[in-house]
Amino acid sequence: MEFAFTDEQVMIAETVQAFFKDNATSERTRAAMKADGIDRELWASFCTELGLAGVGLPEDFGGAGLGMVEFAIIAEAAGAQVAALPLLGLATAAQAIAAGGSEEQKAEWLPKLVSGEAIAAAQSIYGLSVSGNTLTGDVQFVPHGASADVFVLINADGAWIVRKDAPGVSVTTHTTMDQTRPLATVSLAGVAAEPLADAGAARDALHNGAWICLSAEALGGAQEALNRTVAYSLERVQFGRQIGSYQAYKHRLADMLVDIEQARSAVYWAACAVDEGSDEARLAVHSAKSFCADTYFMCAGNMIQLHGGIGFTWEHDAHLFFKRARSILSMYGNGDWHREQVAALIMGEAA
């Protein structure tokens, strides 16, 4: 019975927590928000100095080995600082290529993605017109899509790589509520896409990666929202008392911790289940995504509420957490959809 971090995992956690805390500062994140939502210097240090962009990717192609547990540890730490990074692209596109790509595809893309030389994004394209490997239509809501060099696109029938510079590809960026991860529309006009060898494996890897990454970000963000609110509650005095001494305030913070602890179990259950190829993996990823997203949104909303007036100013960081939390709720399937998947898994077919 060892549902606890190994010493190595503890070390990775300490390293990445310190890294993001020191480097993904509010100032730098806000600078990135004014640009394309990526702190490129941070991304470069993460990929090259820290060398952790390859976690969960095969060592043969520049990856660091290890698995989704370690990836989740990183995403949790990045999420805790609402870091402006294209980490989700690693969780989705790179995982899909690693799982479903040919040796050539892996050799071409994985080293570039691990080194930070290229940025990837992924999305599903249900409803798009697909004829053989020729794709036509608008791919909506692609996270960090305007900054990506390569896209992995999936539907029920296949999985493809599309280069940003391929003929027929054009990208429209959008001003997005969460400016740390702007959405883009990728328009495809008869684009000749490169099919991934094992579409099923790619699809599963993409989904598992997306859901675990977002769940872990949400866990980190929720915990940090709690930590910062606790700190504020010990500083701020109203009616001559620390506001953290008011029982209603305390209890709300306690409720945050109750859900955060469950979110923590959810993230690492899901990551372990995927790494171990457990029968529970599908149940776990849907559970984690829905539960963690709700927890983060609740905690970030409370962060605003419990900071009072200052909490809804632009100057305070609470809105960064709040907007990230809101975006995670909808991204790659909302809570109702994930819970419906859970229901279908345990009860049989969808309603």
Binding site: M177, G240, Q305, G308, G309, F312, R326, L329, S330, D336
Partner: protein
């Protein structure tokens, strides 16, 4: 007990509606349905003037000061019809709803003559200076200081959340005039000209990217000695009396805005097919029920408005609507999906529903957080022991 209004009241409604619609489909069509508090301020001042010329700007006031002595029912009706006709947010709502009634109740005849006409006709826009950085929920913890120097008050300090300050002409300020006093004692209620060197206004940007609130700094700002309401040291009583003027007559107009928001959500659901989603239907139904109960709660509250009795409906109304609207924002985003997270243009500017989602987070904070509201409900409404101050 009955749901509707009397025939005479309905006749008054028709009169309001006819006039408002003629104006807002005529000379003032350009500001019909204008959202927010910031835009087209000059035109909105013109509009205040037009309202005043026709005695529609302060209908609850006595006739001598430009009003109609309107009953609460009539005020409710006007607020509803104003909203229905698409009237823009009242540029001088603090003057009309707070400063004016305070001056009417506590001011001298000179003060009435000096201030009421400008409030009534919108030539003098007002804002309020209550909150301070260390006096958020704890309103009495005022640190802004006022001292009498010759025939002038000299004011130093900082106010925060002064909405409209950036285009206001006047501000009422609660300042500590007795050195060393604490809490609600030793405060004075002053009316100050905003157009002077000692007053500086800095906008506070909110999470929606807009800036409706401000910080207002006073550095040796001045006003004549007779600019106070009540007596020196008596400002807390005046300020609290002022809060009591928020009797909720504008409530039913505000609810029409909520109605529009909920209708927009329903329309969005019909467009993207979520109107067939059983879970969303439940949430829409809950929102609808909540809105209807808000209406009838307000009607109960206003039907009792002359009673001295503490009214549960009145005590609970703020937390009710604020919580409802916060939840409505979440429903809006859940219905819009990711499309709701994308701005229409390049700027960080939001269409109505996402803006409501973002700005709605402040509804449960300003004017008394939900936590403060629950204290008030428990203590005044249920007679439970007061929350102890830490500094007593």
């Amino acid at each position: 007990m009955k749901l509707g209004f009397s025939q005479a009241e309905e006749q008054f409604r028709a009169e309001c509606a006819a006039w408002l619609q003629s104006q807002l489909n005529g000379d003032f069509a350009d500001i019909k349905g204008l959202p927010g508090m910031n835009s087209m301020i000059e035109r909105r001042k013109d509009w205040e003037q037009r309202l005043a010329e026709n005695r529609w700007s302060v209908i609850g006031w006595p006739e001598e000061w430009g009003g109609r002595n309107a009953t609460i029912a009539q005020q409710v009706i006007f607020a509803e019809e104003y909203a229905r006709a698409g009237g823009p947010n009242r540029a001088n709502h603090i003057g009309v709803e707070l400063a004016g009634p305070t001056i009417l109740a506590f001011g001298t005849e000179e003060q009435k003559a000096k201030f009421l006409p400008g409030i009534a006709n919108g030539t003098q826009i007002w804002c309020q200076g209550y909150s301070e950085p260390n006096a958020g929920s704890d309103l009495a913890n005022v640190r802004t200081k006022a001292r009498l120097e010759g025939d002038e008050w000299v004011v130093n300090g900082q106010k925060v959340w002064t909405s409209l300050a950036h285009y206001s002409d006047w501000i009422f300020v609660v300042a500590r005039s007795e050195e060393g006093s604490k809490g609600p004692k030793g405060l004075t209620f002053l009316m100050m000209d905003m157009h002077q060197p000692g007053v500086e206004v800095r906008p506070i940007e909110q999470i929606n990217g807009d800036a409706e609130f401000n910080e207002t700094f006073f550095e040796d700002a001045r006003c004549p000695a007779d600019s106070l309401i009540g007596t020196p040291g008596d400002g807390w009583r005046v300020a609290m009396g002022l809060l009591a003027f928020e009797r909720g007559v504008s409530t039913l107009g505000q609810q029409m805005g909520f109605r529009n928001e909920l209708d927009a959500i329903i329309a969005a659901a019909k467009t993207n097919g979520l109107d067939k989603d059983a879970v969303i239907r439940q949430r829409i139904a809950k929102a609808e029920i909540g809105l209807r109960l808000m209406r009838y709660g307000a009607l109960r509250m206003l039907s009792h408005a002359d009673s001295a009795q503490i009214d549960g409906a009145a005590l609970t109304y703020k937390i009710q609507w604020a919580t409802w609207r916060r939840d409505l924002g979440e429903l809006a985003m859940d219905v819009l999906g990711q499309a709701g997270e994308i701005a229409e243009g390049d700027a960080y500017e939001w269409s109505a529903l996402p803006n409501m989602f973002l700005f709605g987070r402040s509804d449960t904070i300003y004017g008394g957080t939900n936590q403060i509201q629950r204290n008030i409900i428990a203590e005044r409404g249920l007679g439970l022991p007061r929350e102890p101050r830490g500094d007593k």
